[in-house]
């Protein structure tokens, strides 16, 4: 069936405007700004110094913040996209209109994605401007790359949350699944991998762990930021354990993009 742009644009515009109107976008941008500024400024306090350091050092500090915060915000944003309509009783009405289910998912996703991207860019952009003022415009290239990857991470988790929203039977169930996914991807996944590594010792084929890391969008984000910038990589000192084929930021970026497209594709397929 042909895909029409108008219903997608209409749905996306409504979702975006809703988030502007209920001040979600500005509130989340404020949270991002506050945390990003605090970490950029006080991140080195343990070493006895405060103030902005180099761009790559700042990015290295912010990566951890983004990994905790952005997935959580994205999951909370999207988990009721479909199940909320279902529970309110407005889903049959939407589906009775001349729009396809794919268009409904795509429109909702794009609107929410725009709101999330706007908050992320506005929130982390403030630190970017400060870095630009301090270290000159040349420093901004790296930071822009970091922000783009942060947006991609958000979009990946938004995609996961829309999938949750399609398969969940109720809003409460969806919020539970969203929280479990956050714990799973952000906290447990690395622990389990570490446990695997310790338990199996040297029996794992070389490159297995880095490959498994790419199966988690949060780790793919971490890797793209580590390997994207040589200085950051040195700060982490991890480069040695990752084979060159997986150390490419393009491979890691592709993993992130896959994490945007695949859950959304499954959501669209399941929503029938």
């Amino acid at each position: 069936m042909a895909i029409e742009i108008r219903p997608i644009a209409t749905l996306a515009a409504k979702e975006f405007q809703d988030r502007i109107r209920n001040r979600w976008t500005i509130a989340v941008a404020g949270v991002f700004t506050a945390f990003a500024l605090a970490i950029a400024y006080f991140g080195a306090a343990q070493q006895g110094a405060v103030g902005l350091r180099g761009v790559d050092v700042t990015i290295a500090s912010l990566v951890s913040l983004v990994i905790y915060l952005v997935p959580l915000i994205a999951l909370m944003l999207g988990y009721d996209a479909v199940v909320g309509e279902r529970e309110r009783g407005s889903l049959p009405l939407l589906l009775s209109l001349p729009i396809t289910r794919f268009e409904l998912i795509a429109g909702k996703y794009l609107g929410l994605a725009a709101a999330l991207a706007a908050s992320t860019i506005a929130g982390f952009g403030v630190v970017g401007i400060l870095l630009g003022v301090h270290f000159g415009a040349a420093a901004l290239g790296h930071y822009a790359g970091f922000m783009a990857s942060a947006v991609a991470l958000g979009l990946a988790f938004l995609s996961v949350s829309v999938l949750i929203s399609v398969v969940a039977a109720s809003r409460v169930g969806a919020s539970g699944m969203a929280i479990v996914s956050w714990f799973g991807f952000v906290l447990l996944y690395d622990l389990v991998l570490l446990a695997l590594l310790v338990a199996l010792g040297g029996r794992l084929a070389a490159g297995t762990v880095p490959a498994l890391l790419l199966l988690n969008p949060a780790d793919a984000f971490r890797m793209v930021n580590i390997f994207g910038f040589a200085d950051v990589a040195r700060l982490y000192g991890l480069a040695a354990v990752v084979p060159p084929s997986l150390a490419s930021p393009f491979v890691q970026g592709a993993a992130l993009v896959a994490w945007i497209l695949v859950p959304l594709g499954i959501a669209s397929w399941r929503f029938r």
């Binding site: 069936m1 108008r6 219903p7 209409t10 749905l11 409504k14 809703d18 109107r21 209920n22 309110r88 009783g89 407005s90 049959p92 009405l93 939407l94 589906l95 009775s96 209109l97 001349p98 729009i99 396809t100």
Partner: protein, 305 residues
């Protein structure tokens, strides 16, 4: 041109062991108003969802305007359909006008007609108010206005008067009459049987997922041969005389409440009963005859099947 707008053939929808809709065959003609009547859980809403292509039938086919509701060309048919779901809550932060414009854009209808539609359903004064401040009745009106977007040729109204006060119910049916005068086909569900009785051309009675009967109110009454109820007012104590005048014409001895006596007789015995009552002369003050209500018809079908 095919006179039937909707053709439902042998449609079933099962959820596990539950047969929500079970072998329904029904056609609805262009310009007709059909009332789908049944108690909660009878399968009306599921049948609606099947007709709108929102659920896939376990068996059978449904065509609207000659197109399968799951076919690729049904999208165009949807533009000519207005659907009012049962008690859907809309987006609380949008105003009535914004809500209507949103649905107009999704439907590909002219958004310029939105203020006029709000006026038609009596919501013009509340057009700029957020929907979260609407009463239940106002929200129902907004849903109805939404169904009228794009001048639909076919209206599906699921319990449209649910939660409306009596004046609003009357307004609703006035508006529906205007739509019908333009040739719009209407399918509406209700569990308030008496309400739709006089307002549709044909009734379809549903129970347990099955279509029990369909036809005009009169044909359903006739088919069941339900008894008529008489109520008479007597002058003075004349119970004994009433009972003896009626004899076996009354299906049971008259029930007395003060000067009022009620009894039932077979449909064919109406004139004989009137003749018997005439013998009471001045001891009879008043007579009224009640046709079986739709509720009686419905219960009659339930008992008969």
């Amino acid at each position: 041109m095919n006179p039937n707008v909707i053709e439902i053939r042998g449609v079933a929808r099962h959820f596990g062991d539950v047969r929500a809709v079970d072998g329904v065959t029904l056609t609805i003609a262009r310009g007709e108003a059909l009332g789908l009547i049944g108690h909660n859980g009878a399968g009306k809403t599921t049948l609606f969802k099947l007709m709108l292509g929102l659920e896939r039938p376990t068996a059978g086919t449904i065509e609207i305007e000659g197109e399968s509701v799951h076919g690729p060309r049904f999208r165009d048919v949807r533009r000519r359909i207005g659907f009012m779901p049962e008690s859907a809550s809309l987006y609380p932060n949008l105003t009535g006008l914004e809500t209507l414009r949103f649905f107009a854009r999704l439907k590909g209808a002219d958004a310029a007609q939105c203020p006029r539609l709000l006026e038609r359903v009596g919501l013009a004064p509340a057009a700029g108010r957020a929907v979260k401040h609407y009463s239940k009745g106002m929200a129902q009106r907004l849903l109805f206005a939404q169904a009228l977007l794009g001048s639909p040729r076919l209206l599906f109204l699921d319990e449209p008067t649910h939660g409306l006060d009596p004046a609003a119910v009357r307004d609703f049916y006035d508006l529906l009459r205007e739509m019908r005068a333009d040739g719009v086909t209407v399918v509406l569900t209700s569990h308030v049987l008496a309400e739709v009785e006089q307002r549709v051309d044909r009734l379809a009675l549903m129970s347990g997922g099955k279509l029990q009967a369909s036809g005009t109110v009169q044909s359903l009454r006739d088919a069941l041969d339900l008894p008529l109820a008489f109520e008479v007012r007597l002058n003075g104590a004349a119970e004994g005389e009433l009972a003896s005048a009626l004899g076996p014409l009354a299906m049971e001895p008259p029930q007395m409440r003060g000067p009022h006596a009620t009894f039932r007789c077979a449909r064919g015995g109406k004139l004989a009963v009137l003749a018997a009552l005439a013998t009471l002369g001045g001891r009879l003050a008043d007579i009224s005859i009640k046709e079986p209500t739709l509720e009686d018809v419905f219960l009659g079908y339930r008992r008969a099947h």
